[in-house]
Amino acid sequence: MSLPKPAMRGLLAKRLRFHLPIAFGLSIIAAVAFKFTVTEPRKQAYADFYKHYDSMKEFSAMREAGVFESVRPTGK
């Protein structure tokens, strides 16, 4: 039983040729998926929050609650 000669050259290159496109592809898919499931909803949530945000109203509420040191609640 004489063993036949196997392939002995370029084994890593062959492996990389197969796996590297997959690796790059999966990485890109992961990045795109993250963008659309995390960053875009987050950006939208911020946009929605600030679309009708009344900063003066919020400030007054905080002022009346007495959390500032620089301005006292009205009436004090």
Partner: protein, 142 residues
């Protein structure tokens, strides 16, 4: 640098030469140009056989040669390994001879058919030089 033999072997459309510039998966060509005459597999093998056949090769050259050879993306041909084993014999270095066999097995990676084939081809040389295999010594298992 450019891994010319990989590019040649792939015959692919991969354009960027930087894609293959990993430090440890060295090219098989001694000089990594994409221009210039490409060395054939036979020329490569012959060059390395000549390297190890140097009658007065010294221990440093043996180690350097083996380490360089192991850095390539290939399992060395039995004829190169035979020359290296004979160099070990001239240097009275049995340890390196056995280590060379271990290195062949390691370089084969998941391709388990390579090591038995190499041993088959080297069997006459191993017998002649009295080199035991790691398996025969029981040092192939941890």
């Amino acid at each position: 640098y450019i891994n010319t033999r990989v590019l040649r072997g792939l015959q692919s459309g991969l354009s960027s030469d930087r894609l293959w510039s990993f430090s440890s998966t060295a090219s098989v060509a001694a000089r990594s140009y994409s221009h210039g005459k490409q060395e054939t597999d036979e020329e490569f093998d012959a060059r390395w056989v000549t390297y190890f056949n140097k009658p007065d090769i010294d221990a440093w050259e043996l180690r350097k040669g083996m380490n360089t050879l192991i850095g390539y993306d290939l399992v060395p041909e039995p004829k190169i390994l035979e020359a290296a084993l004979r160099a070990c014999r001239r240097l009275n270095d049995l340890a390196s001879a056995i280590r060379i066999l271990e290195a062949v097995k390691d370089k084969s990676g998941p391709h388990k058919e390579i090591y038995p084939y190499v041993l088959q081809e080297l069997r006459p040389t191993l017998s002649e030089l009295g080199i035991p295999t790691p398996e025969e010594l029981g040092i192939d298992k941890a």
